[in-house]
Amino acid sequence: MLEIERLSAAYGLAQVLFDLTLDVRAGEIAVLLGRNGAGKSTCLKTIIGLLRPMSGAIRFAGRRIDGLEPFQIARLGLGYVPEDRRIFSDLTVMQNLEVGRQAAHGRPSEWTPRRLFELFPNLGRMQHRRGARMSGGEQQMLTIARTLMGNPKAILLDEPSEGLAPLVAEQLAKTVLELKREGLSVLLCEQSLYFAQSVADRAFVIEGGHVRYAGTMQALAADVEVRDKYLSV
């Protein structure tokens, strides 16, 4: 579904990603793990086209997407949920969803605001509230819902659990699994195993912009050495 091959990227003169290779298979949840500053967000930004790669290839649904504009990549069916949420604070919940809306083009499931409000009942109760007046958890739900309005085949989720209360995070994990059941592929970024463990099928661990580990989530959970060396508790 999403294949990244020997990807390198830099901010100006400072290189941040080095020959990163990873992939997400259709219908699975893969997690990119690493400490703060490891390069996870940079990796997602490069995939969605916000940052031009220095070298390497990115393929999505069988097509080269590196070098395309973000809006073109999004229209191919790749959704992006940034770590800092980036809700349009001036717009209401409904209007935020409207910005994300795109035609389905025969994708597995078609999302409408009504279906999304079933998935996120909280949002349904505040359709006309402005983004600025929502709590962190509500904003996190809205960013995901907003991205789903584009009817993506796969989504990139950047540290969705950060700053959420444990109960809310648990709810979020259920939602992510629900999305998987809908047929979506997910690339998740996390700093610790805590949230990832409950949802991911496979894991990649990065440090300093290099992939240090690739394998199943189960194998990583058992590998104490890798966990201690590269991950936050």
Partner: protein, 627 residues
Amino acid sequence: MTASAILIQFLNGLSGASSLFLVAAGLSIVFGVTRIVNFAHGSFFMLGLYVAYSLIDRFGHGAAGFWGGVALAAVAVALLGALVEVLLLRRIYAAPELLQLLATFALVLVIQDFTLWAWGPEDLLGPRAPGLSGAVNIAGHQFPQYDLFLIVLGPTVLLALNFLLKRTRWGTLVRAATEDREMAGALGVNQKWLFTTVFALGALLAGAGGAFQIPREPASLYLDLSVIADAFVVVVVGGLGSIPGAFLAALLIAEIKAFCIGIGDVTIADSVISLPKFTLVVEFVVMAVVLVLRPWGLLGRRLTPPRRVGAVERPLALPSRRAVYALAACGAALALLPTLATGYSLILLTDIFVFALFAVSLHFIMGPGGMPSFGHAAYFGLGAYGAGLLLHRGGLPMELALLLGPLVAGVGALAFGWFCVRLSGVYFAMLTLAFAQITWSIAFQWDSMTGGSNGVIGVWPAPWLASRTSYYFLALVTSAGGITLLWRMFYSPFGYALRAGRDSPLRADAIGIDVRRQQWAAFVIAGLFAGVAGALYVFSKGSISPDSLAVPRSIDGLVMVLLGGVQTLTGPVWGAALFTWLQDAAARNVEYWRAVIGLVIIALVLAFPQGLAGFLRDRFAGERHAP
């Protein structure tokens, strides 16, 4: 004033506000989404007026001809706006914001000469609106019907825009892109298309604002800069990006102007104050007051800078030993030049020295200070007037006048700077513009002191400096000395602290730098050196007029700095030399020299988005990086 007179003036204000609001709303929408401050917006207004004039002329003065002409004119300007966006602006959205400004200013020059070519230099007064050419009786006064129509037009457009922005998908996307264009793009919003339509809408509003003025004011070549200045003020007073704010501000300013004219002269303690004359600056005074009290405008909010991944500004390089030798060699060559060259080239070079110092002084606050002044000519002019008036009215010898004149500029910068450094970015730029405009109007109107529009004449240097060659040396030594001093300050602890304040004000504050004080000091130093340039200038020309501190002179300075490249050290000097030479050569040899300069600037901006010196530096990486 009687109650009925007050009512009439109030209505006058309302009708004046409409066209002001249309233009300002367009400027505001375009800025909100694209973050481009479009200098050419006033030119679109001007074109709207001219095109409407010609169309109505062709279609006939009947109702269909008039209204059809007005509507078509607005649409034509909108199409031109779309074309400009696609061909020019789209290529430079990623360029530094000041360079975008430079490109739109180049458009002003091109459009101005195009208008001159197409319609000639005479003012053209259009016909009255059929069906609305009469007057109605309101409380015993005759009030034009067309003005009543304009009173309705403003709120109608406000409502229409409100609907468009709040109730349509297009409007939702525009508002999303205004807040975070990168995120909108990542959600599949095609910004290119969105920006083109936004720009077209902005141009449509400007064109309509111009076209609807047909029965009220003649089409004139001066409209572009005067309208853009008015529109800037309205947008800034209302709050950048806020349409209701623009409406409110247009109303406020138009009403104050109407009442200034209506009240006429007032006598306070035996001195007559002419309020109608005050209309020249009233909007700038309003803006200055609003910006000091409410830095984000009446209904505006604090701007978040557009997010840009991967844009890291390189630190300003310390010039290498080789570069220093090369500069010294340049200076030596210039010192030897009078033995070879004569006459005109010495005059041109003297001008270049003056403007090089002016440009470097502006660069001092723009580059390390991060404060783009749009009114730096005020200090140039204050220095020039200071020197001229000290000589004439103060009876000082020329040498002393030359030395003390710049202090006048320094004092001006001290006073204005105190207010300006409280703001940043576009707001800072606008406040400097306001103070420059106020200074200009004082020079223009205080006849008894400054000679009004004629200025001060007969300001010649002392006999021992009067020859071309000796004045050339004076200018060379003063300018080179001033530039060297300023450049040394770039790399002094003061310069580093200034840059720290520019790059991360919070962190600079935290390590004990008083950012505002530093910026204030820099502002005063820059003003002082601009004053030196101005004082040099006045004695080289023998006269000084209000033109030398008007808006175009400030823009010249910006163009010089940006042409050379704001992130370079020596760039502004090359920019000043190139621009001064180009202006001189083009003005002497080509009829439409503004268009030529405009096209050259556009070509340079497209080819070298980092400025000339920036390009050369990247190409021949000769400068080392500062730590």
